[in-house]
């Protein structure tokens, strides 16, 4: 404990600041007038106990205990490392299946499926709007047949699978369950995550289909269904990642993500679900940006704030309901097209921040992602970055090692406070859907994004290789190309499936789904029936579009 009184420290600090520090910078001016994090928060030269209003037990506690500031497990990575999970998928199911097997053979411990945009927006590969997009940013899935190919030779009881799918999450989960059944794997043994977070699609990512109300119904149907049938499944991954990628600050990332989470919890409670039955399956997804220390503080602040919200606002009783478990991806928006090898270093520092911040799983970006989808070689470097961090750096051997740093604790407090202010503002507006409709969230993100970009344009912030240390000649690196023939092949495959299935049964199952959607049934069992008949994703989504309508973006500039 402090031997010195706070007053004494205050006096000494003031003396130091005026007489020593200021004198020194008069002689040797500092590099910048003010030092700011990428989020625009000003950083002092030093932090002391004066910056920490420190009640250890209340603010930090112990790992695995409320408020989980120090982590959700008692021993964190001393037991098991975080799950190394590289987001991958491109072209058709055969090619992606090959990449997954390669990644598993390289020591990756979980799968993460990237779907192409038509799949994410509920269009089949032969839809006119799908033209040019099939297989581009992920794998194209039209029917259960594609999903069977995607997981051929990968036993679903041996891997955990994360699927980045939102508006049609029910459909892809239904297909996964059906593939499991064909492999002889029971629903209760399936492990994985669906992103299933529609609010951030309206805010930042853009792959929405339906308006908020029916979307929230689909989401809470999944909560309900999985609680009973697929208990190990993470039913949602509430994502700050894309909010940050769209240009938000660190505090906005936490504030808006937790405000989204509050909206989902409220929707589930309204449906009659019991808090402590579904809350433990909620998971989160955050971004690891450039500023190492601010990012560590962000992860800690998010954990503490969520624990408080769940306990005090919603009255959660179970510890597991209060734990914020999260996946992290390094920040794609920080990667530069110039000197792409520099991105390897950026990613390594970002990965370090996420591990020091206590992530449960991690995707490290590849060096070439500002140019194209990553090649196998680039993905391997990214995975090795995690393995070196895990096995060699020592960062994983100690739980929450930065706790107690005057700066880290002050930054954690600051981010928690700012995030809470956003949440309160959104509450006042009537909750997240109202705040999105009013453009409040989008506007805040855009302002932050604009300020950040301007600081680079004005050379107030240096991006190595972009506005300093530019290279004249750049060594080209080989890029991954998705063969345009895939679109044609995928369409042919879809036609074949449509010709060989029992089309009367397909129609009947879609009709049942349509009726159920008009009523209040849980839609999951009906969607499972549809996919088992090889109804296509587009057909299922079109059926739901007919009942629910479509969301229209509120363009905010």
């Amino acid at each position: 404990m402090l031997k010195m009184s706070k007053n004494e420290l205050k006096n000494q600090y003031q003396h130091w600041f005026e007489k020593v520090y200021k004198k020194s910078i008069d002689k040797f001016p500092e590099r910048c007038k003010t030092f700011k994090t990428p989020s625009g928060a000003e950083v002092n030269p030093i932090y002391t106990p004066l910056d920490n209003d420190f009640d250890y037990l209340e603010k930090l506690g112990l790992p695995g205990e409320y408020p989980f500031t120090r982590g959700v497990q008692p021993n964190m990575y001393r037991g098991r490392f975080w799950t190394m999970r590289q987001y991958a998928g491109f072209g058709n199911a055969e090619e992606s299946n090959k990449r997954y097997k390669y990644l598993l053979a390289q020591g990756q411990t979980g799968l993460s499926i990237a779907f192409d945009l038509p799949t994410q927006i509920g269009y089949d590969s032969d839809h006119s709007l799908a033209s040019g997009e099939v297989g581009k940013v992920g794998v194209a899935i039209d029917t259960l047949a594609d999903m069977e190919t995607l997981f051929a030779g990968i036993p679903l009881n041996k891997v955990s699978t994360s699927m980045t799918i939102n508006a049609p999450a029910s459909v892809l989960l239904a297909m996964y369950i059906a593939v499991g059944e064909k492999q002889g794997v029971a629903r209760k043994d399936l492990e994985g995550t669906i992103q299933n977070d529609i609010l951030k699609e309206y805010i930042a990512r853009g792959t929405y289909i339906f308006p908020p109300k029916p979307s929230l119904r689909l989401i809470t149907d999944i909560f309900d269904f999985c609680t009973r049938e697929v208990p190990k499944w993470n039913t949602i991954s509430i994502s700050g990642y894309h909010i940050r990628e769209a240009g938000s600050t660190a505090a906005q990332e936490v504030g808006f993500t937790l405000a989204d989470a509050i909206c989902y919890v409220e929707a589930a409670l309204k449906k009659g679900l019991k808090l402590d039955e579904f809350a433990a399956r909620l998971s989160f997804f955050f971004n690891a940006h450039n500023d190492i220390l601010e990012e560590v503080a962000k992860f800690r602040a998010a954990r503490r704030l969520w624990a408080k919200i769940m306990r005090d606002r919603f009255g959660a009783k179970e510890k597991k309901s209060m734990m914020l478990r999260f996946h992290t991806q390094t920040a794609g928006s920080t990667l530069t097209a110039q000197q792409p090898d520099n991105n390897i270093m950026r990613v390594a520092y970002q990965a370090l921040a996420s591990v020091l911040g206590g992530t449960q799983s991690l995707h490290t970006n590849s060096r070439d992602e500002a140019l194209a989808l990553p090649t196998e070689h680039s993905v391997t470097i990214a995975l090795r970055t995690q393995q070196i961090l895990a096995y060699e750096s020592g960062a994983a051997d100690q739980v929450d090692p930065l706790a107690g740093s005057y700066y880290i604790e002050a930054a954690t407090d600051r981010i928690e406070k700012e995030a809470m202010e956003y949440i309160e503002k959104i509450d006042q507006m009537g909750g997240m859907t109202a705040a999105i409709e009013a453009g409040y969230v989008q506007k805040n993100i855009q302002e932050a994004s604009y300020n950040y970009m301007q600081s680079i344009e004005k050379n107030e912030r240096v991006i190595v290789g972009v506005n300093k240390f530019e290279a004249k000649e750049e060594t080209p690196i080989p890029l991954l190309r998705v063969d345009p023939i895939i679109e044609k092949n995928q369409t042919e495959k879809l036609n074949k499936v449509k010709a060989s299935r029992n089309n009367d049964k397909v129609k009947a199952s879609l009709k049942v789904l349509q009726n159920a959607a008009s009523g209040s049934d849980n839609l999951m069992p009906h969607i499972i029936d549809c996919v088992k008949e090889y109804a296509s994703l587009g057909e299922i989504c079109d059926t739901l579009r007919g009942v629910f309508g479509e969301y229209k973006e509120n363009v905010v500039i």
């Binding site: 945009l117 994410q120 040019g132 997009e133 940013v137 853009g206 994004s449 500039i557």
Partner: protein, 274 residues
């Protein structure tokens, strides 16, 4: 094109890609440069983009795509515009686009392609060039060469040289605290020589001499008729400004500096008497 008419730009997102950060940034930054900008929002078809371009009577269309579908979508927008007899509308693009694709896109009628990290001034100068815009020429603002600034280590020695050595008449000595310099003026015909001695080690002039390894010509200053407009014109042409807004210099003049990076390494000052 007439210089007084505002340039109308359509920023559009063709295809299913939802990454709109870059598109929105470019839209807002171009608007800040005084252009009239319309942003479509995401998920537009090439046809709807062409329709909007016509309805809004734009001069130029900027397409953004980060999903890899650019080779298929961008040329379709050009085609649609041609079909609607609006082939004169310039189309440019940006996003995650491999270098190897750029020649194909240019052949397909995309005038320019900007990849991540492109400064906004590169885009504005492209737009002015592509539209053949006669912006108000800079000469219109510039009245005359106001002075040449010469950095010296000692003002006394400098005065000795110019007054005694060359026989010029000393116009006066003044301290400009804002710039941390002491200044001496000599009238030379219609213009002046301005000697600058730093008053503090962190004065910009001190830093200049450090880099220059001694005294030397520090900057060239032009008197302009309207400094705010002159700066605006320079910026619109893609030049970088050190001072976005004029501040006070010697003689209480309004002054502003242009960045040497965009003036071929010569630090350039605009000034206007009040």
């Amino acid at each position: 094109m007439l210089k007084d008419k505002k340039i109308r730009v359509l920023i559009a997102k063709p295809g299913l890609d939802g990454h709109d950060r870059g598109a929105k940034y470019v839209a807002k930054a171009l608007a800040d440069h005084g252009m009239e900008v319309i942003y479509t929002g995401i998920r537009q078809t090439p046809e709807s983009i062409a329709n909007t371009a016509l309805q809004e009577d734009v001069d130029i269309v900027g397409l953004s795509c980060l999903s890899g579908a650019h080779n298929s979508l961008f040329p379709k927008v050009v085609e649609e515009l041609k079909n609607k007899k609006a082939g004169d509308i310039v189309v440019f693009g940006g996003g995650v686009i491999p270098k190897d694709d750029i020649p194909f896109l240019k052949k397909a009628g995309i005038s320019e392609v900007f990849t991540p990290g492109t400064p906004i001034r590169t885009i504005t100068s492209f737009i002015y060039k592509a539209l053949n815009i006669e912006t108000a020429p800079a000469e219109q603002f510039i009245k005359k060469l106001d002075h040449i600034g010469v950095a010296v280590t000692s003002l006394d020695e400098g005065i000795k040289l110019y007054a005694e050595g060359m026989g010029l008449a000393l116009g006066g000595v003044e301290e400009v605290p804002e710039q941390k310099v002491k200044v001496a003026f000599f009238k030379v015909g219609d213009t002046n020589i301005e000697l600058l001695e730093p008053t503090s080690p962190d004065s910009p002039v001190a830093k200049f001499m450090e880099k220059n390894q001694g005294p030397g010509i520090h900057h060239v200053a032009y008197e302009v008729t309207n400094i705010e407009k002159a700066l605006e014109a320079a910026k619109a042409r893609g030049m970088r400004l050190i001072d976005e807004k004029p501040r006070t210099g010697a003689h209480g003049k309004k002054i502003a500096f242009l960045h040497p990076a965009s003036t071929m390494k010569v630090l350039t000052e605009y000034c206007q008497s009040c």
